[in-house]
Symmetry: C2
Subunit: 215 residues, 2 copies
Amino acid sequence: MTSTNKKKGLKLRAQPKEVRKDQLIRATMKCIARTGLSGVTMARVTTEAGLSLGIANLHFKSKEKLLLETLEFVTAEYSRGQQEILNSESYPGVAAKLEALLEFDFSTPVTDKDKMAVWFAFLGEAKSRPTYQRICSRRDSMAEAQITRLFQTVIDEAAYPHANAELTAAGYIALVDGLWLNTLVAPRRLPRKKAHRVARHYLASTFPQHISPEP
Amino acid sequence: MTSTNKKKGLKLRAQPKEVRKDQLIRATMKCIARTGLSGVTMARVTTEAGLSLGIANLHFKSKEKLLLETLEFVTAEYSRGQQEILNSESYPGVAAKLEALLEFDFSTPVTDKDKMAVWFAFLGEAKSRPTYQRICSRRDSMAEAQITRLFQTVIDEAAYPHANAELTAAGYIALVDGLWLNTLVAPRRLPRKKAHRVARHYLASTFPQHISPEP
DNA sequence: GCCACGAATGAATGATCATTCATTTGTTGC
DNA sequence: GCAACAAATGAATGATCATTCATTCGTGGC
């Protein structure tokens, strides 16, 4: 904080806890994306971060805690962005809010390969499912309820004949998950832009008066 | 094959290779569902199968091959059932075929917890994604093309205004993946029956003249 | 009833990896 | 400058686990 810190960038050894934690979490994301959860080792993570082997156990108590905080980082970031849209009252109408939600879900920060890899690595591992539940369950339930309410508002506005807010919301959430998964696993078969168009087509065919099938 | 085999069920030691392989693959599925890919050990798999530690390396050359054949088993079984429907010409019309596809995707054998766990365990692990690609890529592409063709037939029959076979097919496939994933991870939030209704609602809202929103 | 062979076993081996902690190194207050 | 402290390091440790293979055990042919 004082003068010596800024002297030279050559060898900053001591760094605040937050900086190191962030470095390590980012390195963990990269490792998960490259090698999968089971390929993550303390040696690989710390090498990726350009630090020494022992440092991860210094700042996080254990490997498990490091992985847990990495999942928390990714889900919290997504949730924050989503909540900002859902809670905002500055959109001109529900159509604009719907559009914003869709654009957010397929924006480049959200569909980042490393972040999606973390997400699905934890979902795929039964072992970490209880952990996942603790971190994501309440959040997921609340988001689903909010999206259902948003869809209900849209339906009430236009009197769509057969639309069902609850089923459409559950469908949208699952569709986004499935599109992300397919994009992550086979980006050639389902490029990000096509995934985006598929999701838009879904909303446009359910709410034709609010969302157009072309951007 | 002769007389001695049938004498007593007490201690059948020697068994044909196929029987042992099947036993081990089923035990592997159970282990993946219970502990995740990274929790699978030879000791756990062989104990689950009620056999000795060394036997998995006897029948499969390595742990990796055992896991690979387990994935192959699950995907081949699904693919076989799906192809039977898509290639059949004994349905009274495309609507019936569409209905059969939907019922198949949410039947109890397909939505079996152990099988879905295997599926998503491999999808979630970046390390095994090349393996996954080798096993599933061609199959997945072909299935997508077939479903697109089926949807195009449906669209041509009823002249749906805005429907797009390609986007609807990609959407259906992703939706089913996403619903399975949500059902597997949070069965309380999305029970199998609700997942089924969500998928039906999707098809019904896209092809209202062919599929009804209630079963 | 006995032999020979193949299937099955599980103790032993060696590799990998998380975690620890004695030592080193940079930083800050004086 | 220098002492006292905190951050960082990485060699050493012990635990876990896949794999091997010498031995045991059933089975079918005779």
